[in-house]
């Protein structure tokens, strides 16, 4: 099993005085996989990455790279390639010498260095820039040189620490596709750290969401987006509605919840079983439903539809391609519904509407 995994963290913990930066984290990354550590600032994702790189020693736990125990090995013997947030290019060396550095440290013969570095420049699309110094390069160009520098040594794993945060939006969007393209071409195992969920969803094969030093959930981007397992994940990725309540009964096909404001709601049993943590009767839960799944209709919906409620539009957020309606249900609870727009919004403030929460789109997260 370990042979398939290029990177393994086993019960890794890092404590600084009273703060636990990384709390009993175990993670395996398979060969060629693009895994992203995603989370808010201070969640421990960068600490975890630096532990893998060897700049930080864990307080407990072990790190394996390609099956070998690396916990006590210094960074210069781990054969990892790191791309730093501010690129960390050597300012006193040309782009060529920057990229050649790792190969020179490995005492690669100069003619081999020349051809491999030239290939790198082609890979990142910067042929002709070999003799430029970092200060003569734009942010995006520096980023690409930093990437090439880490890749040319053919490391066991590529580590990227929020490499795109210093770039403007358009450049970020362009660069993340570039990085993904290069990663797919070289098939290199990659661990990517970011706080930007869009970046994470676009680029990753798998995501690990972290909060306060722990991994909250791992899964593919669609897994995590469609089926968040707890409140933190549901809240962090995309937007969601949370309706607090309690499980009153369960049978083979449905789960009945009574919301705190008295309304009754039904969720699909199979969906709950499949994707939520264990749900039992009397459990305090939050019903989580994405705004895009909330349906709005003008007229009274048919009687055989479940989870229909009356409400009033309080606010309309026009976002260009989409519109968000903030609706107040008559029994006090608020809900956000989102629709794709093909023109102007269908509803206005003060409109009386009905909303439908399809049972199969209702997820439950335990709040106990």
């Amino acid at each position: 099993m370990t042979k398939q995994n290029d990177i393994e963290l086993v019960n890794v913990t890092k404590v600084y005085g009273k703060t636990v930066a990384v709390n009993d984290v175990s993670l395996a990354v398979t060969r060629g996989e693009f895994l992203t550590l995603l989370g808010p600032s201070g969640c421990g994702k960068t600490t975890a990455l630096r532990i893998i790189a060897g700049f930080i020693q864990p307080t407990h736990g072990a790190i394996y790279i390609k099956g070998e125990l690396m916990t006590d090995i210094p960074p210069y013997r781990r054969n990892t390639g790191m791309v730093f947030q501010n690129y960390a290019l050597f300012p006193h060396m040309t782009a060529f010498d920057n990229i050649a550095f790792g190969l020179r440290m490995r005492r690669t013969p100069e003619n081999e260095i020349k051809s491999r570095v030239q290939e790198s420049f082609e890979l990142i699309g910067l042929t002709g820039y070999e003799n430029r110094y970092p200060r003569q390069l734009s942010g995006g160009e520096q980023q690409r040189v930093a990437l090439a520098r880490a890749l040319v040594i053919e490391p066991s794993v590529l580590l990227l620490d929020e490499p795109l945060s210093n770039l403007d939006l358009k450049l970020r969007q362009k660069m993340r596709l570039e990085i993904k393209r290069i990663q797919e071409k070289t098939k290199i195992t990659t661990i990517y750290v970011t706080h930007d969920q869009e970046e994470a969803l676009v680029m990753s094969d798998r995501l690990a969401l972290m909060n306060k030093g722990r991994i909250m959930q791992t899964g593919s981007p669609s897994d995590i987006y469609e089926f968040p397992r707890n409140k933190f994940v549901a809240d962090f990725i995309g937007q969601t509605n949370f309706l607090a309540g309690k499980v009153v009964s369960m049978n083979e096909s449905k789960v009945s919840i009574q919301l705190d404001n008295g309304l009754s709601l039904e969720a699909s049993r199979s969906v709950i079983d499949h994707h939520s943590t264990k749900i039992t009767e009397q459990l305090n839960v939050a019903v989580s439903i994405r705004p895009q799944k909330v349906k709005i209709v003008k007229g009274q919906p048919s009687k055989d539809l479940r989870n229909t409620f009356a409400g009033r539009v309080e606010d309309v957020e026009y976002v260009g391609s989409r519109v968000k309606y903030h609706i107040n249900l008559f029994d006090g609870m608020g809900i956000v519904a989102e629709e794709v727009l093909f023109g102007s919004p269908n509803y206005r403030v003060e409109d009386q509407v009905f909303i439908i929460l399809p049972p199969e789109d209702c997820l439950l997260v335990s709040t106990d």
């Binding site: 700049f55 210069y76 730093f84 300012p91 006193h92 550095f101 520098r149």
Partner: protein, 261 residues
Amino acid sequence: MIPRLIAAFTVFLLALPLILSVVISFSPGQLTFPLTGFSLRWYEPLFSRRDFASSLGVSLVVGTIASAISLGIGIPASLVLVRQRFKGREVIQVLFLSPLAIPAVVVGVSLLDVFVMVGVSDPLTRLLTGHVIITLPYVVRVISASLEGFDRQVEEAAMNLGADEFRTFQKITLPLMKSAIVAAIIFAFQTSFNDISVSIFLVGTTFTTLPLVLLTWTYKYFDPSIAAASGLIIGSITILLIITEKLVGIDKLMGAFRVVT
């Protein structure tokens, strides 16, 4: 336009004493201004009075060796002081900088006391010790300042790419400290070469420094030969600056001074 005029005028004011010295050194007679003629006669004593050459030699040798020793102590000391945390760190920092806070005369007298007590009478040893003490604070200050702003991620990048601590220091840290080291050398050498208040207590009867010799000339001779000595030194430094500009480019070295301010 106006700022440029002000800048030019300021430079002129600052250079005025130097310019005047050089002008007076070509005076045919005594110390008069404006010049009554042009003569090189006052450059002759620089060769005939033996104390000039020997003291110039002493100043150059002591300056070079003291600067080298200060660098050898100051660079490692700065690295430790800036990058490590340990008990008593601030105390040691202050200790290194303390000679700056003590009047130079006091430093000189105290050192003389110690040398007499310990039984060290050799003027070279005395001078070197005194000059290392007064130049070390400048080295530590300049190098520490540059290390404070040092982006350690480039060192991490080097280690990540396979360079151990020694090779990282050799290939990354040291080259990036270059301009600070140049600044430190200039400060140290300049402080040592210029020094009077400490050196006056530590020199021997024949083993003495150039500034002290020139000081004696002012009451022994009081003639333009002193201006000639200044002219020689100013001229030499000017030639050095021109060579440096041609070889390296002073703008590169000027980066060093941004570190200090």
